[in-house]
């Protein structure tokens, strides 16, 4: 028997999920994370989960890992000392950056610039110059390079990045400099900007290549530690890491290009949502991952998550593909307050954190957190099934009363206000990935996970009109599910700025073919044969003169014939959808990219036993005080483990399980589907997709309707009752990748 192990290391917990590939049977484990060396927590978890499953680590065939090692190195400023070699005249490329000062007019008064990832004293200029078209303006002066390397060596840098002007057009000088570094300073790892990111814009390319160097020693040390530990336990699994773009890459490749996994953590959630999508048959999803301090959201269209061409970690934005996950500083721990000056109710971004935590944790917190508001409203019952902690209701009330007193309203109204404001902030994030990208959220289902996601998901669904709201089984370990069930991915790209009239289908095809080969070779090395690979091409387009470009997905087949014309047409459609107009200006190519993906593993999902519509066998408390829209109710509390497929839970209700609590509001209901998801809809609306149980990978023809074309008279999201169509039936209008 073979087992796959998904492992997601978060700030507080390390989540593991072991899947028996043959039966789909799963085992979950949660152990405290060990920030000083994450591999310790990982190994503890592995041992526990193997014990539960009655296997030895040797029986695990694949280990798939979402890690925040790279993220944390940046956030905590604990990366390597990086040396940077640049073209003469550009040593301050990171110091000047894009000259941008955040914060609006007069924002400079309160902004202090963070230090660059490669310090100026470790930045050296060398004499050389490549022109804009790749021409050599001035050859490399070797002596200036040796001098620079010796200085960096004396400064004890731990990694070096070489980033020269226009190297995207000609990387020869960067390579030449690497050769010299190998002679002068052989032990130091070197990142070349044109290899990390062969794209135009010197600051962004330099920063990305520097970030690669910055996290490289930390990441390779960590991965090596894991491999060593695994070897000592006789564990021979293939080891892979989740990239920021949601694909998997082998440890070896990850160690060389760690900049690709700076958002590995959040990508796990999206990958998990994709797993849910494949099981339940919903292809268009908004993901909603609410934790203690922040909330991550993303959009999945027709089973494909949206990607963007950058990764943002703290102050650092690098050009590496990542799933378009937007984060707002709103979570269960967000603190509510009423500033004296304005008398407005504000929630977050300050958070109660783990210590002291919300008032209800009884660890000394007295400020009202969102969690406290949920306790006051009865959305979070004081004792949870399987939970070790009892919540202090009185403390929550006392905390929320502060807000009530300041606004002269009752404690319940104050609590409801806090929840509404935080919901609105999170809705803002959902808007960013949907409405602002031209998608109508009513064409999507909302899948909720993370510690607090299922608590707020129903309310978010009402705001966005995204039905049904899906609560997958084990919402607390969904990231690990994602790690274990996603596929390999790799890409290769190149800047190629040409107007359509300056190039041809033939030229572009030739470049894309060579990029494909580059991307495919590395997957072959990871043991994925060509026959299991799918290649997609992307052409980044804009109108000549524009600055921003859009990746347009293209099929390799037939590209040579009319690929550019088709891509141009697709771009026009996108531009109209997003910006209300298209131009008759000439199209211009900016970047070319080949994306290669492997196959999804064939993991079977668990089926839930079938039952009738009546869920009363799962009731554990029929008399729980619950507030909704200013009204007090007697709500039922259900044990999720006892709910059967087909059961319908009428709101107001609470469904509890091992690591999460689901709220179903008074005017909504929850239907249990064949794979155990709770599908929440307004009463009277049937969540059709998924009930008919299409098998994994079923071909539901669901496509998003572009919002720009949606009727002008927008319907109030909260009132979109029976009119909102279940996603799987929404009519397709136009389909456009990202």
């Amino acid at each position: 028997m073979t087992y796959r192990l998904g492992c997601d290391v978060g700030g507080t917990f390390t989540d593991l999920l072991l899947i028996n590939e043959a039966t789909g049977e799963t085992y979950r484990a949660k152990t405290p994370s060990t920030p000083q060396d994450q591999s310790i927590g990982v190994m503890t978890g592995i041992e526990r989960i193997c014990k539960d499953a009655g296997i030895t680590p040797a029986e695990i065939s694949e280990f798939m890992h979402g890690t925040t090692v790279a993220t944390n190195a940046v956030l905590e400023g604990k990366g390597a000392v990086v040396g940077l070699i640049v073209t003469d005249g550009y040593k301050q490329v990171l110091q000047i950056a894009r000259s941008f000062v955040p914060g609006g007019l007069a924002g400079w008064i309160i902004w202090n610039k963070p230090l660059p990832l490669a310090l100026l004293e470790n930045t050296c200029e060398v004499k050389e110059r490549i022109g804009a078209r790749g021409d050599v303006v001035r050859p490399v002066n070797e002596e200036s390079v040796r001098e620079a390397v010796r200085k960096l060596k004396a400064n004890k840098v731990q990694a070096i990045t070489v980033s020269l002007m226009n190297s995207f057009a000609n990387g020869d000088h960067e390579k030449k400099i690497r050769d010299i570094i190998k002679q002068e300073f052989p032990e130091v790892p070197v990142s070349l900007s044109h290899e990390v990111l062969p794209e135009m814009y010197e600051y962004e390319r330099t920063l990305t290549a520097v970030a690669n160097s910055y996290v490289r020693p930390t990441v390779s040390r960590y991965l090596k530690n894991l491999e060593t530990t695994f070897a000592s336990r006789n564990m021979k699994a293939k080891c892979k890491v989740l990239r920021s773009d949601g694909g998997l890459m082998a440890f070896g490749n990850a160690a060389d290009k760690p900049v690709a996994l700076m958002m590995s953590g959040p990508a796990g959630g999206v990958a998990g949502a994709l797993w849910v999508s494949r099981q339940s048959g919903f292809k268009n999803l908004l993901t909603f991952d609410m934790g203690g301090t922040s909330t991550d959201v993303a959009l999945i269209e027709n089973g494909e998550p949206q990607l963007r061409r950058e990764t943002k970690v703290g102050d650092v934005t690098v050009r590496a593909s990542s799933l378009d996950v937007r984060t707002v500083g709103a979570g269960g721990g967000s603190i509510a307050r009423v500033p004296e000056l304005t008398g407005a109710l504000r929630v977050g971004p300050e958070s109660a954190g783990a210590v002291p935590g919300p008032a209800c944790y009884g660890k000394g917190g007295t400020e009202p957190a969102v969690t406290d508001a949920n306790v006051v409203l009865g959305h979070l019952p004081p004792s949870l099934i399987g939970g070790e902690m009892k919540l202090d209701v009185a403390a929550s009330k006392a905390a929320c009363k502060k807000v009530g007193d300041a606004l002269k309203i009752s404690v319940e109204t104050a609590a409801e206000g806090i929840v509404k404001i935080v919901n609105e902030n999170m809705f803002g994030a959902l808007r960013l990935v949907s409405i602002e990208q031209g998608y109508d959220p009513r064409d999507f289902a909302l899948v909720a996970f993370g510690g607090a996601g299922p608590l707020h998901a129903n309310a978010l669904g009402k705001l966005s009109g995204s039905w049904p709201v899906i609560i997958p089984p084990g919402p607390g370990v969904l990231c690990a599910y994602g790690d274990a069930t996603t596929r390999a991915r790799n890409e290769a790209s190149q800047t190629f700025v040409r107007r359509y009239s300056e190039t041809s289908n033939k030229d572009v095809t030739a470049i894309l073919k060579s990029l494909s080969k580059q991307a495919q070779d590395s997957l072959i090395k990871e043991g994925i044969p060509v026959k299991e690979q799918t290649v997609i091409w992307e052409v980044d387009l804009r109108y000549t003169g524009q600055g921003f470009s859009v990746p347009i997905a293209c099929k390799p087949e037939g590209f040579e014939k009319n690929g550019l014309a088709q891509a141009g047409k697709d771009f026009d459609t996108f531009h109209t959808r997003q910006f209300t107009f298209a131009l008759d200006a000439e199209h211009e190519i900016v970047n070319l990219r080949a994306v290669v993906v492997g196959e999804y593993p064939n993991v079977k999902a668990i089926r839930v036993g079938k039952g009738g519509t009546d869920p009363s066998k799962a009731v554990v408390n029929a008399n729980h005080e619950f507030w909704d829209e200013g009204k007090k109710y007697k709500a039922k509390i259900y044990d999720r483990a006892k709910l059967k497929a087909g059961n319908i839970v009428q709101g107001p209700a609470i469904v509890t399980e091992f690591d999460s609590t689901t709220v179903i509001l008074a005017d909504c209901m929850g239907t249990i589907d064949h794979v155990g998801c709770i599908l929440i809809t307004p009463k009277g609306m049937k969540p059709k997709a998924g009930m008919s149980a299409p098998p994994a990978g079923g071909k539901a023809k669901a496509k998003a309707k572009p919002a720009a074309k949606a009727k002008a008279k927008a319907k109030p999201a909260a009132k979109a009752k029976a009119k909102a169509k279940p996603v799987a039936k929404a009519k397709a209008k136009s389909k456009k990748k990202r």
Partner: protein, 631 residues
């Protein structure tokens, strides 16, 4: 002045005043803020000129039905439009203008193209979305349309009074085509105008959605409540921080591009009861050249208000609510309120100096909150010509420099003081213009010394790869970006042209039509930010770090009383001696401002220090008559 415009609403029912609970208010406020950011995103992604899409020289706002800004940046100018527009405003109309004189300075020069879009819902006007963007070209006598030697607005290209670009939803294409026929880069203007309009449409859509979601009565009342809330907060700030005793400050625009200068800008601020008065009496009469800044009083209130908020309480959300609390008095016929048809295109320098003036005024009573002077204008560089393939190229670029030191830390080097501005990547410039950027770095020691260091000036070396023409717009080449609380001034700006034949030309900070040849290199050096606090109180190790980083030279470190070698190694003994020596020469209490040498001395040394002749004293010719013509 009262509104002349006639608003046509098909639904005559007056709005019902609704009491807005604080939670609904917060929700509507954040929804409006999201809409505003969406406007930004739309413009930056679809505009074509690098001025707008890379440098973000474009400004959105969403206003309530009376034209008061609820979210945005520079405050509302809709009042100026409503006061002067003599016609109907109907559903489906979209207004265009770029006429400062016909809008009471809603836009301050003709390069700014403004779209005003009234938002109707169920037959009633519920709000406005507006956006203006700086066009790379607006026609007129020089590429870029900002002639430094202009004496009237007629030399500055197209000037369109408020006009309907769309009438009841129908594009007035004749108007558009006539406009585009006047400019050198019609494709850019068309696309940029499209972008600005698309952003207004986004806001319109969002406002309508809010009217559906909350009800239009609630939306209208909520906008008012947001304004009221801001007024309450600001009135507390004003009472606390503005004294009844008047404080004054004066500063200068160095010259007018025609050889005259410097021009004085003076403001006196005091409080009467709950009201603040900003009186610009003492400001010099209008210039003959194009540096006049036709200032909309409301925008000035907003500039001032934002400074108040940023300095004293950044948590307040700003909108137009506090306007009643500020009384702005600008004498007619001055640099800040010139009579028609004075030239206006190069107003950026006066705009910047106003910000320096505010910083000085607000901090005088509370020096702990004082910021130094700095990079308060946005210098321009233009390069145009016909390349060897016979194609026209035209670059308009905004420069950056040293951010002033402030009470909370050092000023960043080579950054922007303007919101959301970014530089154009040098690789982009090289790919699209016949240019090679040989150097893009900041100048060591150009930031003023202080406990907090002023940001360094930016130096860009443009190597021209085709024969062409350049224009330069900058300032502070003569007077100094001052330091505060013991901090010293930053270095002044310079423009040096290195010819291929080895000759060196020092160019004026405001000039047009300078011919350049292939291979010539222009060093465009801006100015540094002033320092904050006594330099000898800066930790010596910080000074040493700056030396190691090449931001301060060993020689420059002596201004801090630090003796350090090029490797950043401090000589402790020498440092102690030098600091003691400096201290013994300092007054017991450091003066609040260090403006550099007295003006007379600066003028006397001008040629020696700057290689440029001193400007002649301004001549004020009252040949433009009072605003009759504009009415």
């Amino acid at each position: 002045m009262t509104s002349k415009a006639q608003i046509i609403e098909t639904n005559k029912k007056p709005f019902k005043k609704v009491t807005i609970d604080p939670i609904t208010l917060d929700i509507i406020e954040s929804a409006l803020r999201n809409a505003r950011f969406e406007m930004d995103a739309t413009v930056f992604r679809t505009a074509m000129s690098s001025g707008i899409r890379e440098q973000h020289d474009a400004f959105p706002l969403i206003a309530n039905k009376d034209g008061k800004m609820v979210v945005g940046q520079f405050g509302s100018f809709i009042g100026g439009f409503l006061n002067n527009y003599d016609g109907t405003i109907e559903e489906g109309d979209v207004f265009f203008t770029n006429d400062p004189y016909k809008t009471e300075g809603a836009i301050s020069h003709a390069n700014d193209w403004l779209i005003l879009l009234p938002i109707f819902f169920s037959g009633r006007l519920v709000g406005w979305s507006c956006h203006f963007g700086h066009m790379t070209d607006n026609g007129g006598k020089v590429p870029g349309s900002m002639p430094t030697d202009a004496t009237t607005i007629f030399e500055e290209g197209l000037v369109t009074p408020p006009t309907k670009l769309y009438k009841k939803g129908v594009l007035q294409s004749t108007l558009l085509e006539v406009m585009l026929n006047q400019v050198r880069l019609p494709t850019w203007n068309r696309s940029d105008l499209n972008a600005v309009l698309a952003a207004c449409r986004v806001a319109e859509k969002r406002v309508k959605e809010m009217c559906v979601r909350f009800g239009d009565d609630v939306f209208v009342s909520a906008c008012q409540a947001a304004l009221d809330r801001n007024k309450r907060a600001m009135s507390i700030l004003i009472d606390k921080n503005v004294s009844e005793a008047p404080v004054s400050f004066e500063d200068y625009v160095d010259d007018d591009g025609r050889g005259y200068g410097p021009y004085k800008i003076k403001c006196t601020m005091w409080r009467e009861g709950s009201k603040v008065i900003l009186d610009w009496k003492g400001t010099d009469p209008q210039a003959i050249g194009s540096i006049n800044f036709y200032l909309n009083e409301n925008m000035l209130k907003m500039f001032w208000g934002i400074y108040m908020i940023m300095v004293f309480d950044p948590a307040i959300l700003f909108n137009d609510g506090f306007y009643d609390l500020v009384d702005v008095r600008i004498p007619q016929g001055t640099l800040l309120k010139p009579n028609f048809p004075a030239a206006l295109s190069c107003r950026t320098h006066a705009l910047g100096r106003i910000f320096d003036t505010f910083a000085a005024l607000l901090g005088q009573k509370t020096p702990d909150f004082l910021c130094a002077a700095g990079f308060s204008s946005s210098p321009h560089f233009m390069y145009s010509g016909t390349n060897s393939k016979g194609e026209w190229y035209q670059l308009y670029q905004i420069g950056f420099g040293g951010i002033p030191a402030k009470p909370f830390g050092d000023g960043p080097d080579g950054h922007s003081m303007w919101p959301s501005f970014t530089n154009v990547p040098q690789e982009y410039l090289e790919a699209y213009f016949p240019l090679r950027i040989d150097r893009h770095e900041t100048t060591p020691d150009s930031g003023g010394a202080g406990r907090f260091r002023g940001g360094n000036a930016l130096r860009v070396d443009y190597c021209f790869l085709e024969d062409g023409e350049i224009s330069i717009h900058d300032d502070r080449w003569l007077t100094y970006p001052w330091g505060v609380n013991g901090g010293t001034p930053g270095k002044r700006s310079e423009k040096i042209l290195y010819r291929t034949n080895g000759s060196i030309e020092y160019h004026h900070s405001k000039c047009d039509n300078v011919k350049v040849k292939k291979g010539d290199v222009l060093a465009f050096i801006t100015w540094g930010g002033g320092g904050w606090g006594n330099p000898i109180e800066r930790e010596a190790t910080l000074v040493a770090t700056d030396v190691r980083r090449g931001l301060v030279t060993p020689e420059g470190a002596k201004r801090y009383g630090v003796v350090v070698n090029a490797d950043g190694v401090i000589n402790e003994e020498e440092t102690r001696k030098l600091r003691a020596d400096i201290k013994s020469k300092q007054p017991a209490k450091m003066p609040v401002f260090d403006l550099g040498p007295p003006l007379a001395q600066t003028l006397a040394n001008c040629e020696k220090e700057t290689h440029l002749p001193a400007p002649r004293p301004p001549v004020f010719r009252p040949d433009f008559h009072a605003a009759k013509a504009a009415e």
